[in-house]
């Protein structure tokens, strides 16, 4: 079985977001970049499947050279090889085109992604790739088991979950608890250095969206503290002052 895992290089979840250049660029000073947390779940499940069934795991990132540390970490966690499409990933359709182009060349049985990126939060790339390849796409996937050429899947829906079955190949957007996040060990880090990381130039050039500028949310006003022994007044304030109940 051949598995492709698509990963993003994104600011650490504790990052205080700030912009520069007249609010047109992310201020990367002091920002640590990590693998998207949902992508990490996808990778962890792929590595588990590899350990169980001997699948091969390829990691793919559409990004510039500064995403290579994240790609190396994925190799250290257990992916066999990696591909980086050398382009600024600034549009979901564009990113999907790149992933679809690589997938067409290599016939993967499973294309695993995160449920959504944590920078743009689009939750779209898996669906667009599915459409481009004529394959079913399912997200968010909480559980994945492979039985021959059939995938048994639990998907989260509003207020619950559903059990699904579909034949491979498939495109899936993953989230917890599909697998436990994996931390690379020393041996993994050593071998990752020599695993192949191929850099390819982008196919197509369609960018259907561009960002004109960014903005930070307005800060919340000061908190109004209510003494615990007068807790009931909160309900009055929510009704008469905040008008939300």
């Amino acid at each position: 079985m051949k598995i492709l895992v698509c990963v993003t290089s994104v600011p650490d979840t504790t990052t205080k977001i700030a912009f520069t250049d007249n609010n047109t660029k992310l201020n990367k000073a002091g920002v640590t970049f990590i693998t998207g947390p949902y992508d990490d779940y996808a990778l962890a499940r792929a590595v588990e499947l590899k350990e169980k069934t001997g699948a091969s795991v390829t990691v793919l990132n559409v990004g510039e050279a500064d995403s290579e540390p994240v790609i190396r970490k994925c190799l250290a966690i257990g992916a066999d090889d990696a591909i980086r499409v050398n382009a600024e990933p600034t549009d979901a359709y564009f990113v999907a085109e790149q992933i679809a182009a690589i997938a067409k060349e290599n016939n993967y049985d499973l294309i695993l992604m995160g449920r959504e990126s944590i920078d743009y939060n689009g939750g779209q790339v898996h669906g667009i790739v599915g459409e481009m390849l004529g394959l079913p796409s399912i997200s968010p996937v909480m559980q994945l088991d492979i039985d021959g050429d059939t995938a048994k899947i639990t998907r989260e829906i509003e207020g619950g979950k559903e059990q699904l079955e579909a034949k491979l190949p498939l495109v899936l957007g993953c989230q917890e608890p599909i697998a436990e996040w994996k931390i690379p060990n020393m041996r993994g880090i050593m071998t990752a250095r020599t695993k192949p990381l191929k850099v390819v130039e982008p196919a197509g050039t369609d960018k259907l969206t561009t960002v004109a500028s960014y903005e930070l949310p307005a800060p919340r006003g000061a908190v109004k503290m209510i003494p615990a022994d007068q807790a009931e007044t909160l309900i009055q304030l929510l009704r008469t002052e905040a008008k939300v109940i």
Partner: protein
């Protein structure tokens, strides 16, 4: 040129988020001097269908093929794409939901459309087609220029407050050819809480964290939620520990919600938790530790013990 809105019916009722989407779509139609058509897929009563008119749709398309009775992102996307072609729609509006998420991407792929997710305002048409969207999990906004002929806008809850009129919309049956490939995923079963207020749809959310000490103590959270007609939510460790179902987990790696009121009980306010809830209009924090970081992101705070404060709040709500 026209605007097409995908509207969802759940448990027989037009979803609240869909009412918002229809009203939003009608406003965009107004801005662009065209009309707004709503499409509803699956079972729906005549009254519910026609009610789309109350929020501004001038026509409703109804795709009622029995194969479409169960939500299916791929098949529904094909139906909406066919409707967009029939209507010559160049703007498609959906309210974010688990079904809509599955559809928007497939639709964008089919129509080669420019897609904006988590839209929070009406578009600015003064110079092209610009929409504001929430990014970095609620920590920032982007102004996106959408450059394709067809634009898809997935709107976040509380983007617009719908106004209702007495209008009803004429309903037309819509019967596009269905493609077997769209039915490749077999649904084997599902578990869904029914009757409860759905968390992504809820105007008021009562949420609790590890401060509740154990799943056996959730009664006080549910009592307050029931009194407020609110949905319940939880922090990540609470769902990791299986104290509560995963569908209730909010934050960076869970649901992102934007209710009118979010009440956080015994939650410390880690940045990853805030990411999922900070676009709530009003935030109340109840925590026994005055240093809990959540107070810095709250509108109202009570330093106190949840086991004492929550039952008293419930009583006060019931007395309103």
């Amino acid at each position: 040129m026209s605007v097409l809105i995908f509207a969802e019916v759940d448990e027989g009722k037009l979803k609240k988020s869909s009412q918002e989407a229809i009203f939003y779509g009608a406003k965009v139609a107004e801005q662009t001097g065209t009309t707004a058509t709503a499409i509803i897929v699956g079972e729906a009563s005549d009254t519910e269908l026609a009610s789309a008119g109350r929020f501004g749709a001038t026509k409703v398309l109804h795709a009622a093929d029995s194969k479409l009775a169960e939500p299916n992102g791929m098949a529904y996307a094909s139906v909406v794409a066919a409707a967009a072609q029939q209507e010559g729609a160049n703007v498609i509006v959906l309210a974010k939901s688990s079904l809509a998420d599955a559809m928007t991407a497939r639709l964008a792929g089919k129509l080669k459309a420019a897609l904006a997710a988590n839209v929070v305002e009406l578009p600015d048409l003064s110079n092209g087609f610009r929409v504001k969207s929430s990014i970095y999990t609620g920590k920032a906004f982007a102004y996106n220029d959408l450059k394709a002929d067809v634009k898809i806008l997935a709107i976040k809850k509380n983007t617009i407050t719908p106004e209702e009129s007495e209008a009803t919309a004429p309903v037309e049956a819509f019967t596009p050819a269905l493609n077997d490939k769209d039915f490749a995923i077999a649904v084997k079963g599902s578990e869904k809480a029914s009757g409860d207020v759905l968390l992504p749809e809820a105007d008021v959310v009562v949420s609790a964290g590890r401060g509740l000490k154990g799943p056996e103590n959730w009664g006080i959270v549910e009592d307050l939620a029931n009194a407020l007609h609110a949905a319940t939510a939880c922090s990540k460790p609470v769902s990791d520990l299986d104290w509560r179902p995963h569908a209730e987990h909010v934050g960076q790696t869970g649901l992102k919600i934007s209710p009118n009121l979010y009440i956080a009980c015994g939650i410390s306010g880690a940045i990853q938790h805030l990411a999922g809830v900070n676009s709530s209009k009003v935030i109340v924090v109840i925590n026994k530790d005055p240093e809990a970081p959540f107070f810095k992101s709250a509108d109202y705070g009570i330093v106190g013990d949840v086991f004492d404060v929550l039952p008293r709040l419930t009583k006060a709500v019931k007395a309103l």
